[in-house]
């Protein structure tokens, strides 16, 4: 059994790791649709999105490993950490649900990630800025594609609307975590690496409100519930994803494609 690795605790590394893990786990969840999407064309669209996200995570892992000097490669960072050392937001680890749930989560996350990448494009870290410049184009497309489905299903049949409303109610509870700033955000903002995620709440809400309006869905009230994935405390679903993801690297240490 390969021992687990520990990522750098440096604030800059942790800041980038939150973004990388969020992309990685969402990509993993979307990959589950491969062969199961409602139509062939959408199956390809969802897996394209998954591969974009995993590509973004890879670029970030490679950069984190190089800049923090821990000597871990991207595979080790992706597959050989303990659950508590993954710092993705909880929203992306929730089971994929039905197509309405997946589309709405994609719309929420691509809107969020687009805002993050847009700001990272002017990061003081040149490599991070370059990664962001490429990723923001991908995020813009993900947002348009997922947003269209939210409108079609929200403003669709009674059944599609019911499913979209229930997805909205379920997912909205996990939104506050995205914008809960902490010491890592403050340090990133001060050093010019990237934005304090709490500063993205207003633009995110403005874009989501416009989308939900178009889908004839009401913006839910904020709940008092707080998820805490980005501090390493995950939902009960996280262990199952990691078991899936890590099996090969644990069973065949150092195995490569």
């Amino acid at each position: 059994m390969n021992p687990s690795i520990q990522p750098s605790r440096d604030a800059g590394a942790q800041y980038m790791l939150r973004l990388a893990d969020t992309c990685l786990i969402l990509g993993q969840r979307l990959g589950e649709w491969c062969g199961h999407a409602p139509i062939l064309e959408e199956d390809i669209a969802l897996t394209n999105t998954a591969l974009d996200l995993i590509g973004q995570a890879r670029a970030l892992f490679a950069h984190i490993s190089q800049s923090s000097g821990t000597g871990h490669d991207e595979d080790q960072l992706a597959f050989l950490r303990e659950e508590r050392d993954y710092v993705n937001v909880t929203l992306v680890e929730l089971p994929r649900g039905d197509f309405a749930f997946t589309s709405l989560r994609n719309a929420m996350m691509s809107t969020f990630l687009k805002l993050v990448w847009e700001r990272l494009a002017t990061s003081s870290d040149a490599e991070l800025a370059a990664i962001a410049g490429k990723a923001v184009k991908e995020a813009r497309y993900h947002q348009r594609h997922a947003g269209d489905w939210v409108v079609r299903l929200g403003d669709g049949t009674a059944e599609s609307r019911r499913r979209m409303e229930s997805a909205l109610e379920e997912l909205w509870r996990y939104i506050p975590e995205l914008f809960e700033g902490d010491a890592i955000d403050v340090q990133a903002q001060q050093s010019g690496i990237g934005p304090d995620w709490s500063s993205l709440r207003a633009p995110w809400l403005a874009e989501m409100t416009q989308l939900l309006d178009e889908a004839t869905l009401a913006v839910p009230k904020d709940s008092a519930f707080r998820s805490s994935g980005k501090r390493g405390v995950h939902s009960e679903h996280m262990g199952y994803i990691l078991a899936d993801m890590q099996y090969l690297q644990r069973a065949y240490p150092g195995g490569v494609w």
Binding site: L40, E41, A45, N48, D148
Partner: protein
């Protein structure tokens, strides 16, 4: 009136990076033109094939009847004089 249970079929035309014209790439099912363009992007331009996409509903195409093939196209077989191969071109336009 019967309710459609399948989305209509669309023909996809993609213009490549170096190409001047849109070429037929294939077809797909989509609920409307907007969705057809997006799905065409995902299905037919995944390997950098395109810089522009056209879609049109397959049922908007009027095609010649395969049964007319003989009458339509065979009479051209013996009219080689319609190919401009009998002219001597000046050196300057060697590669026409």
């Amino acid at each position: 009136m019967t309710q459609a249970t399948e989305w209509p079929l669309w023909e996809v035309f993609v213009r490549s990076r170096a190409g001047l014209d849109h070429k037929h790439s294939g077809s797909l099912h989509a609920a409307d033109a907007k969705m057809a363009i997006q799905l065409a992007r995902d299905v037919y331009t995944r390997r950098q094939e395109g810089t522009s996409i056209w879609v049109m509903r397959s049922d908007q195409i009027t095609a010649s009847d395969p049964g007319d093939k003989g009458m339509y196209f065979d009479p051209m077989e013996d009219k080689v004089y319609r190919h401009p191969t009998f002219y001597k071109l000046p050196e300057a336009v060697n590669h026409m």
